[in-house]
């Protein structure tokens, strides 16, 4: 039971990281990324391939850097175009990543994947503490990325991004470098997705292409929509509650008679779809709406400073 709970918490952590990244790209910068699963897979594989040679920390940095670089390239290609094009290119990107992972056998192990991925601190972990260490590591990573995202939202960079999202023409007229802002936001989001992939690889210590289906993308969108676009706190709550609901529905099989495993998974995935549509229609602002930030939040009046 304990190890099951650990699993759930780590899955929530991975979902939260992916959600925070998408929240930055879509919620804050208005750039829709349908290739989330591809970036997570790329992060996981970069780590799995590099970590045995360069160590886990350098492997993580590399995973983030590769994903950031490719995000930057994709966004540079499409960012002048209508939103629809970025969406299409990212969905194509995820598909290409999947095909390459399956077919570049010497590097990725093909359909068999890569096993024995070293975990962080594996050498100094006492026997039997493996789960505890990876749990602490996952939570630590979420806290760091969360703090970073919050700082980003409050920074001048975050303010400019919101301005670009809400009215790109006005932001450009005020001298904001619209293109550069968008590319940077997309790249940072990609880097966080790479980290989420790295955590995924550390946790399972075994990865194969079947783990990175477009469902990851759907979860992430559901989390961002449920939590509230632009709100990091709402995002973590959203990611947590969705993962809990999904995990809880695993047990439905024992309750509903006559439903087999495939039907149950179809029900759960269909639910995600229904959830996305219902939330978009009924509660577009999500659980926690994006805080309205005023001038005074950034520049307190002189009297308060004293």
């Amino acid at each position: 039971m304990i190890s099951y709970l650990v699993t759930v918490v780590i899955l929530v952590s991975i979902a939260a990281l992916v959600g925070l990244a998408l929240n930055l790209q879509w919620g804050l910068a208005g750039l829709v990324n349908f290739g989330v699963a591809g970036f997570v897979a790329l992060g996981a594989y970069t780590l799995a391939i590099s970590a045995p040679h360069v160590g886990w920390l350098a492997g993580m940095v590399l995973a983030a850097a590769v994903c950031a670089g490719l995000s930057m390239l994709l966004s540079l290609l499409t960012i002048r175009l209508e939103e629809n094009y970025l969406a299409i290119v990212t969905i194509g990107f995820a598909e290409i990543v999947r095909i390459l992972l399956l077919n570049l056998g010497e590097l990725t192990g093909g359909a068999l994947g890569i096993a024995d991925i070293p975990r962080p601190f594996a050498g100094v972990t006492p026997a039997g503490w493996g789960d505890a260490v990876i749990l602490a590591f996952a939570l630590g990573l979420v806290v760091i990325v969360f703090a970073f995202s919050e700082a980003l939202v409050r920074s001048p960079f975050g303010r400019a991004l919101r301005a670009v999202r809400d009215d790109a023409t006005a932001a450009a007229a005020l001298g904001k470098p619209v293109l550069a802002l968008r590319v940077r936001a997309f790249a940072i989001g990609g880097a966080i997705m790479g980290l989420a992939g790295a955590l995924h690889a550390f946790f399972l210590t075994y990865i194969d292409p079947s783990q990175f289906t477009p469902i990851i993308t759907a979860y992430a969108f559901m989390a961002v929509i449920a939590g509230g676009r632009g709100s990091n706190l709402g995002l973590v709550l959203g990611a947590g509650s969705i993962m809990l609901i999904l995990e809880a529905t695993r047990f439905l099989k024992d309750v509903i008679p006559g439903v087999d495993g495939v039907q149950l998974s179809a029900l759960r995935l269909g639910m995600i779809g229904v959830g996305i549509v219902l939330l978009l229609i009924l509660r577009p602002e999500g659980l926690v709406s994006e805080p309205k930030r005023r001038f005074a939040d950034f520049f307190p009046p002189e009297s308060e400073k004293a």
């Binding site: 629809n84 094009y85 779809g273």
Partner: protein, 287 residues
């Protein structure tokens, strides 16, 4: 060998033409790329499978049933989802269409499971002509699509309905002033494009096994075709589909077959680099 691949590519391209056309027509009216195209194609294949194998009806009737089913599904999706979100911008509609796509795909999976299925069709020996092999499924596909395209072309260019559709796509407010109701035209467009996608689903089911993810395999080529022709341009979508079909099949000359799908994506990337408006010049650059 090359000529054979070219021929196969043309047939593949004709198959892609119907959903690519559907995508581009909906884009013209609602200004969003409907990601549910792939899932609706799957639904069409399963609807035809139900009529053909479960109910034992002949394939042409099954195809009509599939077209009707997907048209109805498109109308329902429009009424329940897209119309309600119409004012909220294309990104919201895009995300919503992803939700719709998940729902449709999993309804199919819930009812039919993950096992691959196929139509009840006698296997016929392919015809040979000057060393080229043409099988019956390819002939059916080519014939059906060409007839559908000609009818659709007449509808769009030479009927009052087609004129109204073009008017709404061009400028919805101006069309409304002239008494063309956007809502009615949007409904008709969804029903029409649904029928096209359903038909394409049946043709795809002739070509390959029917499973819940079959539509997913066509998703990227369909989008590549529509972008290649310039989103919103019907003639462009057909030309784009033929080019993508031929490019995918001909790629077998230089690439391993498993890399085929990369070709469509490569075409999209090259196009966005050098000619973002597509071959037939729809406006893609945002303000």
């Amino acid at each position: 060998m090359a000529l054979q691949l070219f021929l196969n590519g043309l047939v593949t391209g004709l198959l892609l033409a119907l959903p690519a056309l559907a995508l581009t027509l909906v884009f013209g009216i609602l200004r969003f790329a409907n990601f549910a195209v792939g899932a609706l194609l799957t639904l069409g294949a399963y609807a035809a499978y139900t009529a053909n194998v479960v109910l034992g009806l002949p394939l042409p009737i099954a195809a009509a049933f599939a077209a009707g089913t997907v048209a109805l599904a498109s109308l329902i999706a429009d009424a329940l989802v897209f119309e309600r979100l119409r004012t909220r911008g294309s990104i919201t509609l895009l995300v919503a269409s992803m939700g719709v796509s998940l729902v449709v795909e999993n309804i199919c999976r819930f009812i039919f499971g993950n096992a691959a299925r196929s139509f009840d069709l006698a296997v016929a020996r392919p015809m040979r002509w000057n060393g080229l092999r043409i099988n019956h499924e390819q002939l059916i596909t080519a014939g059906v699509v060409i007839i559908a395209l000609v009818l659709l072309h007449l509808l769009i260019t030479a009927s009052p309905l087609g004129r109204a559709m073009r008017a709404v796509a061009d400028n919805a407010s101006l069309a409304a002033v002239r008494g063309v109701e956007r809502r009615t035209i949007a409904r008709i467009t969804f029903a029409l494009t649904g029928a096209l996608i359903g038909l394409a689903g049946v043709l795809a089911g002739l070509d390959r096994a029917i499973d819940p993810l079959m539509g997913w395999n066509y998703q990227i080529p369909i989008f590549a075709a529509a972008i290649l022709g310039g989103l919103g341009s019907p003639i462009g979508a057909v030309a784009g589909a033929l080019l993508i079909g031929v490019a995918e099949e001909m790629s077998a000359l230089v690439l391993p077959v498993s890399f085929r799908q990369i070709v469509s994506f490569g075409v999209i990337l090259l196009l966005l680099l050098f000619r973002a408006n597509g071959l037939f010049g729809a406006k893609a650059i945002r303000k």
